[in-house]
């Protein structure tokens, strides 16, 4: 199983008045993880979209365990959890990179769409590429 790891600092603009990172930003962080996992596989999600192939989000489950704070060094570990002919699931572990403390566990399910927004099969070469991450 291939795991991609990224690290970056939590932004001031991501905080809320509770003094912590607002929970919606974890969705953007996991999206960064997906981008980098695909790059690590030798693909590019940006290229995929230029070819009219989209991996739309259909379901998300996020479980928040501890808070992240402004300027914290964050680590996102991304893996591919499932692969189907028409979509798949990515799994994430968001941690504080300095303490390795678990901040959030998450899963996102995706369906493959064409440029008109209709479901379609994953292109064969993308399917084979992603299979290497399982």
């Amino acid at each position: 199983m291939l795991e991609n790891t990224i690290e970056f600092r939590a932004r001031y603009s991501e905080t809320d008045q509770m003094g912590v990172i607002h929970h919606r930003h974890y969705l953007a962080w996991c999206e960064m993880g997906r981008t980098e996992l695909m790059r690590q596989l030798g693909s590019s999600y940006a290229e995929l979209e230029k070819q009219g192939i989209f991996l739309a989000v259909s379901e998300i489950r996020f479980s928040y365990r501890a808070s992240a704070y402004y300027d914290d060094l964050i680590r996102v570990r991304t893996t591919l959890g499932k692969l189907r002919s028409r979509g798949g699931r990515f799994c994430y572990r968001v941690e504080n990179a300095e303490t390795s403390k678990l901040l959030c566990r998450a899963e996102t399910d995706h369906v493959c769409l064409n440029a008109e927004g209709s479901p379609r099969k994953l292109p064969e070469e993308i399917y084979e590429l992603l299979k290497r991450a399982l």
Copy 2:
């Protein structure tokens, strides 16, 4: 069971390059629904935080069924799904307000925290107030 309904237009700044509303904004929309459900009950979440009582998000589950687009009139229906002494669950149905088409179903679980971020019981008067929404 009390249901709160809000309507508003999807913002340009909420779109992404797929030409639809990015999925993270539904979290902010449901948060608006929670605020208004509490106002409808005669409470104010803003006031609650001023008293040092926070309803932090612990779990979220969002199921996306259809896309929302810039300038669409959006409706969010919010209900209280569960109430516990130390937290609760809100449930949401996000629709296109003009067609009533379902866009997203969601649930968010919350834990009550004090100003230091430690779990605590919901204040008695807030518990009783929320109970009326069940």
Copy 3:
């Protein structure tokens, strides 16, 4: 001179750890004002983009005078400041709707682009429509 007025509540997700609305959200609020000013004129910016005509932002100047807080009722007053064959300027006054206190004054300059991102003249009918707002 036509002035459009919108009112809405500041969202929890728009706060930052200073306990106020983060300054970047005023850009989204002014964008909402532009959308509504165009609707008031009988046009639709959403329709315009579907026809391959874009009003891209080229310059912004925001002057912040007082803070906005979560759940504040916000008012944005939008006017058209300048109109040129290839673009224009919108002007904004962001206020607390309950006290009419000035929160922010802003200007945004726009250039008309085609679907390929190249500068073009405003379509005649859009130019005439916008002229009524001066």
Copy 4:
């Protein structure tokens, strides 16, 4: 004059339906530049806020010259433009890191506030520290 340079990838969540990075995100990017310039000087803006000292944004001017796209490698060059006893100005040059093409020039003016939101002088040690960046 000290210049801080940061590089990072534009996020998918930062795109809009024009297919480019939405202009409000440049404000968050410049904020990241300020954080890193202060770190380079040996300070920490996170620490400063914990001591009850805030550098609130009072004026911004952004001039957008070219578009940024999803997954572009972005570079932000940050310098201190002015330093006053009660505030200062930061200047920015946002570039495509691969081509060095200028995307945006920006300036942000700041006033020093205490925890109650009242203007105050910059603490002597912060003033001296920032002076080294001029």
